[in-house]
Symmetry: C2
């Protein structure tokens, strides 16, 4: 027997409390006992409906339900209202776990990625916003193919020469693909490749384009925000099952809704 509040506190254990955080209960009564937990990266309308349909009364998500980090937009729109009604009518509790899981040691979202890639034996060092890996030397093409296979992705966006040899790799999950984070991984850590979720298009990619023009082979793999963080939430789902072995826990995956034609 555990309440939503107790379960969420347990997931934040050992981390210095954050004064400002998005990791709060967004809807529902957190004093209720947890019957079933659903875990997801992105609480889309379909995911929320699925969580309700499978009888979960707690949905833990990494990102917010309303299209902005601080849920501040467009609360008057019909789309907001319909989603809010679905949630409120069901009584489901929706809690975000974003800031705290990124502060696990190592970062819980990164742990999920490392596990999904099967790269745990290649970890060289974990930093707060990225991890460094020494992988068996292979071409960028081989890395791309192996990641597509491991993460079950139909396509991957990348920058670089596919025949470049890669051995030192940095990974930055989520929105950590800005030049401020990635460029020092190339210039100070001397990584051959940085794999990131999302970042401004004319920062990291243009740095690599110029590096290539100077015959210094560097490369990036741009996984997508969702693709880079969803394995971390699957990892969290497994972790909750481990610490609450009697509690039903279900992970609800989502596909990226951005398509290419």
């Amino acid at each position: 027997m555990v309440t939503v509040q107790q379960l969420m506190e347990r997931l934040k254990e050992g981390i210095s409390p954050l004064e400002e955080t998005v990791d709060t209960a967004k809807f529902g009564d957190p004093s209720q006992e947890v019957e079933k937990v659903a875990v997801t990266f992105m609480p889309t309308y379909h995911v929320v409906k699925k969580a309700i349909d499978i009888g979960a009364n707690l949905l833990i998500c990494h990102e917010g339900a309303f299209y902005s980090h601080h849920d501040s937009e467009i609360k008057s729109s019909a789309i907001f209202k319909e989603k809010e009604k679905l949630i409120k009518d069901s009584g489901i509790v929706i809690c975000r776990l974003h800031d705290y899981i990124h502060r696990y040691q190592p970062d819980g979202i990164m742990q999920g990625m490392i596990s999904a890639l099967g790269w745990s034996s290649f970890v060289k060092e974990n930093f707060s916003s990225y991890s460094i890996f020494e992988i068996p030397e292979q071409t960028l093409l081989q890395v791309v193919q192996s990641i597509k296979r491991q993460l079950h992705l139909k396509s991957i966006r990348y920058v670089g020469n596919l025949s470049t040899n890669i051995s030192k790799v940095g990974i930055c999950v989520g929105y950590r693909g800005s030049g401020t984070i990635t460029i020092p991984i190339f210039t100070e850590e001397d990584a051959d490749l940085v794999i990131y979720g999302e970042g401004p298009e004319w920062e990291t990619p243009e740095f690599i384009r110029d590096a290539m023009a100077m015959k210094r082979n560097k490369a990036a793999i741009i996984l997508g925000h969702l693709e880079s963080e969803e394995p971390g939430m699957a990892y969290l789902s497994d972790y909750i099952s481990k610490i609450y072995p009697c509690l039903p826990v279900e992970f609800l995956p989502t596909e990226n809704c951005i398509k290419t034609l």
Copy 2:
């Protein structure tokens, strides 16, 4: 006879001077007479080299040469130094035209996009950060195909149902694809489709995913930052040729360096 400084002043004419702006001369002596102008969206290493090779002594670019909006990163890295050396050794003047061209009425970058799309007769209203169009009703698939053709793009990223009917469209160039900008275009302007350059992945796309789940058909086309702004710089290049008919002006295009596999 015109100096770099005079030419750049002319391009800013009629716009209230901005106290803070990235639109400055980054390298070279702006008091020199302009012999040949090169215009580009992105001053990559290859583009700078090309500008020097064709004898331009002024390169006007929209974005910066050093992978961040304020050129503040990694000035000590070998890649920065090699690019800086290329520029300094040549004596070429590099000037950014970003903030001012976006303040043209209508936005100069948007004018280039409208002209590249052939949509000038469809303009309903121009706002400071987006324009609204009423196009002949067609499916999202038809819009995607027509844009690929008009902008010479090999592929396009989109969110939505390809059979959705589209007639009201918003366009936001550059990094204006955040939910804060695009969602009101859907909810207040009632647009069927927003075409944007770049924006956070779980804002606009997830809003559309939820709208679709509620059978409210909305769609987005994500052109890419470069693809959405390069036509505006081509437009600027033509404009400079018009106001300085005796001056040689060359537009230097770049392809997006992000590939898909």
